[in-house]
């Protein structure tokens, strides 16, 4: 899903021309490289049905046979496919508008793939992923960025309401539709669902390491797994806030702000719990430095609107607190029996900020005043 932007491969592909369910036909390949997801590799294709287009995530089990224990890997790959398919079914059933819709899934006979069977998932086709709109463009559209963040928060809240945690929130998994009007979350391949077992449930870092919350990198996550999932998800959302303004995720900048002796032990052995506790003041200091530069950059983008910049910076602070025990919106944290990591206030907050910025962009006569 992360490679949905239309970039077709010139090389001939044996799957092109294959007919899928409901008359969909694979028309072109969109990514040259397999994407790994829980032991299974997948390729992206564009399928067509008349005028309609869709994205095909075709699972490639060939990599399984290169593994040391092919049967174990095969089991893992099948589980990964089944998990994502079932999860998409839950999303579809719950009518989650902010999650990329699965059109269908299935297995077709194809002599060119292992076992002669091609497993695939079929999705609505996105225009591009959010990364393209921000990384290569220093003068991003801030109103769109804030609206996109609002929609991401809404998408996460939809997932959480059904006990699903995305766990791999990153710019390439935010897909843009209808010429930037709508943004949706894609790729649930690394998600967690309270009612379903996933092959990656025991992973230390379920998503991408480069976006992960610091406590996971230091192997010092909360002992309450459910709380840690919520805390990580909020951090990933904070990383997106940072990315949309600074064009770099939060974790790499956070790590760069640390002294080498605090960074190198990331992957070492020993009592890392002690180390994380020890590094926390440095992480907090690094966070405050990053928040400063974030606010300065945001102030430039919103033409010196200090109130708005402070509000967004506060959202970033609450969501990226290096100490998971202190993470979360203060109002949510004050609730005695509430969830400190809940996203409700972020959804409404970004809605307000985005609306303010959109109104400023729209001429007064167009608003009918």
């Amino acid at each position: 899903m992360s490679d949905a932007y239309p970039e077709t491969s010139e090389a001939a592909d044996p799957l092109i021309g294959s007919t899928l369910c409901d008359g969909w036909v694979i028309a072109a390949r969109v990514n040259r490289h397999a994407k790994q997801s829980g032991g299974a590799f997948s390729y992206g294709y564009v399928a067509t049905k008349g005028e309609e287009q869709a994205y095909v995530k075709a699972f490639d089990f060939e990599g399984v046979f290169k593994a040391e224990d092919p049967m174990k890997e095969l089991e893992k790959a099948v589980k990964t496919f089944n998990f994502e398919r079932d999860l998409l079914g839950v999303c579809e059933k719950s009518n989650m508008k902010r999650i990329v819709r699965a059109i269908g899934n299935g297995v077709i006979d194809n002599a060119n793939v292992p076992f002669g069977k091609l497993y695939y998932l079929l999705f609505e086709l996105a225009d591009a992923d959010a990364r393209l709109h921000v990384v290569a463009n220093d003068q991003g559209d801030i109103a769109w960025c804030m609206r996109c963040l609002h929609q991401i928060a809404a998408a996460l809240r939809q997932l959480h309401s059904k006990g699903i945690f995305h766990q791999d929130l990153k710019p390439s998994n935010v897909l843009v539709f209808q010429g930037k009007k709508a943004s949706k979350l894609g790729d649930l391949g690394r998600a967690h669902c309270s009612g379903m077992e996933a092959p990656h449930d025991g992973a230390l870092v379920p998503g991408a390491w480069r976006y992960a919350a610091p406590e996971l990198l230091y192997r010092s996550g909360l002992t309450d797994k459910a709380a840690q999932r919520s805390a990580s998800e909020l951090y990933l959302f904070g990383s997106m806030i940072y990315f949309f303004v600074m064009h770099v995720p939060f974790t790499p900048d956070l790590m760069n702000a640390l002294r080498p002796e605090h960074r190198v032990a990331l992957f070492g052995g020993g009592n890392l719990g002690v180390l994380f506790r020890d590094v926390l003041p440095f992480l907090a200091d690094a966070q405050s430095e990053l928040l400063r530069s974030f606010k300065a950059k945001l102030l430039q983008t919103v033409s010196g609107n200090d109130e708005l910049a402070s509000q967004v910076t506060d959202f970033l602070r609450y969501s990226t607190m290096p100490d998971p025990m202190l993470r979360g919106h203060p109002s949510a944290r004050r609730m005695v029996n509430g969830n400190p990591y809940e996203l409700e206030r972020f959804v409404s907050g970004f809605n307000v900020v985005a609306t303010m910025l959109e109104r400023r962009q729209t001429p007064a006569n167009a608003r009918g005043t």
Partner: protein
């Protein structure tokens, strides 16, 4: 760039990194380059990262932040020497205060602010911030060690000892700090056994080095070098800069083995200062003291050591004044540093300034600081000579020599005598107590210290040669004082 060793990297992360690297090598676009750089920021790198960083730097339209990240991933050409970094404490305080307004729970900023206040001599303000930092991060190794060092500086270690006692048995660094603080303040350690056990349980040589050194020092005082030696051997495996300095001192005084390559370590300024001084490399010793002072702005020892070398070994009074001034900022009540500054001022001709400093030093020196009081008497003697009062000047020098003799500080005896000689020769008198030949024989022999020989050759010998031309008057001090081994 500091990178994680390949073998230490988690397999999941390595897979992620390799996939991103392969993708960059095939796609060579902004998206794949930036994703690879994000992963490399976790400390893992290969040659593809440099290529990706260079690609992003050269690509038009890439955001400033991304470009900054890319520049950070390229190999560094050179580092700015720390000595070139200016001291802007006032600016730093303003900056840290504004940082704390925005992020009041930043314990590190509180510690840094305290450090900046201490550098300006504002100990009470510093104390408030140190206490807040401890409240915010009660088990942080960095915060507790900084607090302990600060409490030692202001001479009130009870709170630090109490805070450290609660956590020392779990953390070798904090245990080392507890032992060192208790040792410095002469307080007993309530439970030493758990600290010894902690040393045995700790596997990483770097983690256990400081604790082993601290326990070794404890044993050295308690039971002697034989029992302490095993601890020093453990501490020598992977020592930090503090332990290097300690080991160097032990090698000189107790014959403990010392690997000289340790002196090349980045921040071993203290040991480097000692080693350079031992090799008579005074310029490097002064540089090392300056870096040591930069590193530990509230430490008094680099100010003393650097000032002493500059004044006595080199006759560089400008540098001596700088050391004394910097030391006095964070130790404004140090009579010893006031004495050093007064001496440098007199040698530069500022008699009025020196007189004021000497009278202040007298107020601040405690009755137990007998060595400092003796040295101050010699400086006052110098002042009197320069004011034209040779008789009182001489009696001050003689009083200093007698006191130092009583305290058995031979180095002070010899140096005070040489300064006394110099002042007598300067006003045309013959050297006190001894003839010129006897003097030359004593200070070229093995009975005097290395430093006394250097001072003799730098100050007294040229004056002897210059004054001998005109003949010298015996000022009649009579028989030699019992301060040196009489020449045979």
């Amino acid at each position: 760039m500091t990178s994680v060793k390949q073998s230490e990297v988690s397999p999941e992360f390595r897979r992620e990194f390799e996939a991103l690297s392969a993708r960059w090598l095939a796609d060579k676009d902004v998206a794949s380059a930036s994703e690879l750089l994000f992963a490399a920021s976790l400390g893992y790198s290969d040659s593809s990262v440099h290529q990706a960083a260079q690609f992003l730097i050269d690509s038009p339209g890439v955001s400033t932040q991304l470009r900054r990240l890319a520049v950070g991933r390229l190999p560094k050409v050179e580092e700015v020497p720390a000595a070139e970094i200016e001291h802007k404490q006032t600016f730093e305080i303003r900056y840290l205060k504004s940082k704390l307004v925005e992020h009041p729970r930043n314990a590190l900023a509180h510690v840094e602010l305290a450090r900046a206040y201490v550098s300006l001599g504002l100990t009470e303000k510093a104390n408030r911030h140190i206490r807040v930092a401890i409240q915010l991060a009660p088990s942080s190794r960095f915060v507790l060690r900084a607090a302990a060092r600060f409490d030692v500086h202001r001479g009130k270690v009870e709170r630090s000892i109490k805070a450290l006692e609660g956590v020392a048995s779990r953390d070798p660094w904090l245990a080392a700090t507890l032992v060192a603080v208790a040792d410095l303040s002469g307080k007993p350690i309530k439970k030493i056994k758990p600290l010894r056990e902690l040393l045995e349980q700790t596997n990483d040589p770097a983690e256990k080095s400081e604790l082993a050194a601290a326990l070794g020092t404890f044993e050295l005082k308690d039971a002697g070098i034989r029992r302490a030696r095993k601890y020093f051997q453990i501490s020598a495996v992977a020592p930090n800069e503090n332990v290097v300095a300690q080991l160097f001192w032990l090698s000189k005084n107790y014959g403990v083995n010392f690997d000289r390559s340790l002196l090349d370590r980045g921040e071993a300024f203290e040991a480097r200062a000692q080693s350079s001084a031992e090799a008579n490399d005074w310029e490097n010793a002064i540089q090392a003291c300056l870096r040591w002072l930069d590193n530990e702005p509230f430490a008094i020892r680099p100010a003393f050591e650097g000032g002493y070398i500059a004044s006595e070994m080199l006759g560089d009074f400008k540098t001596a004044k700088e050391f004394a001034h910097r030391g006095l900022i964070s130790n404004p009540k140090s009579g010893g540093l006031m004495n050093n500054l007064a001496y440098a001022l007199i040698m530069e001709g500022d008699i009025v300034g020196a007189k004021d400093l000497i009278s202040r030093a007298k107020q601040f020196l405690g009755n137990d600081e007998e060595r400092e009081r003796a040295v101050l008497q010699a400086t006052e003697g110098l002042l009197l000579y320069r004011q034209g009062n040779a008789a009182d000047g001489a009696s001050h020098y003689i009083a200093c020599i007698l006191k130092a003799r009583e305290l058995k500080i031979e180095q002070v005896v010899q140096l005070a005598y040489l300064h006394f000689c110099y002042e007598e020769l300067r006003i045309g008198h013959a050297p006190p107590f001894w003839s010129i030949e006897e003097l030359q024989k004593v200070f070229s022999g093995d009975e005097v210290s290395k430093h006394a020989k250097i001072v003799f050759n730098r100050m007294v010998q040229p004056m002897l040669i210059a004054r001998q031309k005109y003949g010298l008057i015996d000022s009649g001090y009579g028989a030699p004082l019992p301060m040196l081994v009489p020449p045979t």
